[in-house]
C-alpha cells in the first residue's frame, strides 16, 4: 500500500516537473518568436533608413551635378572667352601661357561635364547602369595610370532605376578604393547578364588586404567604405562577395 502512495506522490511530482519543463519550452518559444519579430522590425527599419539615406545622398549628388553644370561650366566658358579676347593683344611669351591656360580650362570643362554626368542621377537613369559604368571607367582609363578592361557577357537588360543607381554607386566606391588604396596597375570589370541576374565582378592586381581584419575593423567603425558597400548591397538585395589576400589583389563580386 505504501508503495502505491509513493507511486502516486511520484507521479504528482513528475507531473509538476513536466509542467515546469513545458513552461520553459513554451516561454522560450514565445521568446524566440518575439526575437524574430524584433529582428524583422529592426531589419525593416534599417532598410527604410538606408533607402532614405540613399535618396538624400542622390538628391545631394544631383544638386552638386546641376551646380557644376549650371554654374561652373558657364563660368569656365566665360573665362575661356575672356582669355580668347585678350589673346591677340598680348606679347608672344604671354600668348603661349594664355593659350596653355585656355587649353587647361577646356580640359577642366570636359572633366566637369564628365563629373557632372556621373553625379547626375537622371542621366544615370536615362543611359542605364552599363553605359554609365563604361563612361566612368573611361575617365579612370584616361588618367593613364591604369590598364582598365571592361567586358560584358550575355544579353544586357535594365534593372529598376533605383537598383541601378545604387549598384552604380557601389561600383564607383569600389573603383575609387582601387584608385586610392590598391596600388594596382590593372583593373578588370566584368558584367555578366544571365536569366534575370546581373553579376558585376571588379578585380585588380593591387596589394590586396586581409578581409577578416578589415571586416572586424568595419564592425567597430561607422561609415567605412566596406560597411557602405554591405549596406547598399542589402538595400538592393544583392550578394556581395569580397575575395582578397595581402599581395594577391582583390576581387569583388556583386550578384543582383
Amino acid at each position: 500500500m505504501i508503495w502505491a502512495a509513493v507511486l502516486f506522490g511520484t507521479i504528482l511530482l513528475l507531473t509538476l516537473g513536466a509542467v515546469i519543463i513545458s513552461f520553459v519550452f513554451l516561454y522560450q518559444r514565445k521568446k524566440y518568436r518575439h526575437n524574430q519579430e524584433v529582428t524583422q522590425i529592426r531589419e525593416n527599419f534599417a532598410r527604410e533608413m538606408l533607402h532614405s539615406k540613399t535618396e538624400i545622398q542622390e538628391q545631394t549628388l544631383q544638386h552638386i551635378a546641376s551646380e557644376i553644370h549650371d554654374n561652373f561650366n558657364p563660368t569656365l566658358s566665360v573665362i575661356n572667352l575672356n582669355l580668347a579676347s585678350v589673346l591677340p593683344s598680348v606679347d608672344e611669351p604671354v600668348k603661349e601661357t594664355i593659350a596653355d591656360t585656355k587649353s587647361l580650362v577646356k580640359q577642366l570643362m570636359a572633366e566637369m561635364r564628365a563629373l557632372s554626368a556621373t553625379l547626375n542621377t537622371d542621366q544615370l537613369s536615362r543611359i542605364g547602369f552599363s553605359k554609365a559604368l563604361e563612361q566612368y571607367t573611361d575617365r579612370i582609363r584616361k588618367s593613364g595610370f591604369f590598364e582598365l578592361i571592361i567586358t560584358s557577357e550575355g544579353e544586357p537588360f535594365r534593372l529598376p532605376s533605383n537598383k541601378e543607381i545604387i549598384l552604380f554607386r557601389m561600383c564607383q566606391e569600389i573603383l575609387n578604393n582601387i584608385v586610392k588604396h590598391s596600388g594596382a596597375t590593372q583593373i578588370t570589370v566584368q558584367n555578366r547578364f544571365s536569366l534575370g541576374h546581373l553579376q558585376v565582378t571588379i578585380s585588380d592586381n593591387g596589394k590586396g588586404f586581409d578581409t577578416r581584419k578589415i571586416i572586424s575593423e568595419t564592425t567597430q567603425q561607422d561609415g567605412s567604405g566596406l560597411r557602405n558597400l554591405r549596406n547598399r548591397a542589402l538595400a538592393i538585395e544583392a550578394d556581395l562577395d569580397i575575395q582578397s589576400s595581402e599581395g594577391q589583389g582583390t576581387s569583388i563580386n556583386i550578384l543582383i
Binding site: W3, V6, L7, T10, L14, G17, I20, I21, Y27, Q28
Partner: protein
C-alpha cells in the same frame, strides 16, 4: 526487476557513448568531465550490481551494496553541483552553490556518522541532495528564461542535463525517503519503490543522451 536494472545500466552506457561527442565538438571542459563522470557512473553501477548479485550472496561479504551507494550518490551529487556551478553565469549563484556544497558535505558526514550510519542508505543526506538538485535545475531554467539572447533549448546540453536531473530527483525523492523503512518491512514493496527509482534514472540518462546528441558545435 533484473531486466530493468540492466536496462538502466545500458542507458548509462548509451549516455556515456553519446557524451563522447563533447570531445569531437570541442565543448568546454565541464562537458568533457561529464563524459568521464558517466564512465565512472557506469563502472559504479556495474560494481553495485556485481556486489549485490554475486559478492554479497556467494562470498564472505555479508552486507548489501548500500554502503557503496552512500558514497556513490554523495559523489554524484557533488559532481552535479560542480556541473551547475560551471554552467551558471551568475556570480551570486556560484557563491550560493559553493556554500551549499560545504553544507551538503557537512550534513552528509553527520548523517553518515550519527544518523543512518554506513550500512543503510543515508536518506536524509539524499533528500537534501535531491532538493538541491531540484533547486539547481530550476535555477538553470531561470537563467535560460532571463537570458537576453535566445538559447535554442534543443541544442542546449545543460538544459537537457538539468531536465534529466530534475526528472530523476522528483521521481526518486519520495522513494529514497522511504526505501530503508520499506526494506525492513516488505522486500516486495521496497522492490516496487526501487523500480520507480530505476525508471526515473532511465529517464534521466535518456535525457542526457538527447542533450549530447542534439548538441551542435560551439
Amino acid at each position: 526487476m533484473k531486466w530493468i536494472i540492466y536496462l538502466s545500466v545500458f542507458t548509462v552506457l548509451i549516455a556515456y557513448l553519446s557524451s563522447l561527442r563533447s570531445y569531437r565538438l570541442g565543448l568546454i571542459p565541464v562537458f568533457r568531465n561529464f563524459s568521464v563522470f558517466l564512465l565512472l557512473v557506469l563502472l559504479g553501477e556495474i560494481f553495485g550490481i556485481a556486489w549485490s548479485r554475486y559478492l554479497y550472496r556467494h562470498t564472505v561479504f555479508t552486507r548489501g551494496n548500500q554502503w557503496f551507494y552512500i558514497w556513490f550518490h554523495f559523489l554524484q551529487f557533488l559532481f552535479y553541483l560542480y556541473f551547475f556551478y560551471s554552467v551558471s553565469k551568475s556570480r551570486r549563484w556560484k557563491r550560493w552553490i559553493s556554500i551549499v556544497v560545504l553544507l551538503f558535505v557537512l550534513f552528509s558526514l553527520t548523517d553518515y556518522t550519527f544518523l543512518h550510519g554506513p550500512w543503510q542508505l543515508n536518506t536524509w543526506a539524499e533528500m537534501l541532495g535531491s532538493l538541491l538538485m531540484v533547486i539547481c535545475s530550476i535555477a538553470y531554467y531561470r537563467q535560460l528564461l532571463m537570458a537576453h539572447v535566445y538559447v535554442p533549448l534543443r541544442n542546449d546540453t545543460p538544459f537537457w542535463v538539468a531536465t534529466g536531473v530534475l526528472i530523476y530527483n522528483l521521481g526518486s525523492i519520495l522513494g529514497t525517503l522511504l526505501i530503508n523503512t520499506m526494506y525492513r518491512h516488505s522486500e516486495k514493496e521496497a522492490g516496487n519503490i526501487h523500480l520507480i527509482i530505476l525508471i526515473s534514472a532511465i529517464l534521466m540518462y535518456l535525457t542526457f543522451t538527447t542533450g549530447f546528441l542534439c548538441r551542435k558545435k560551439q
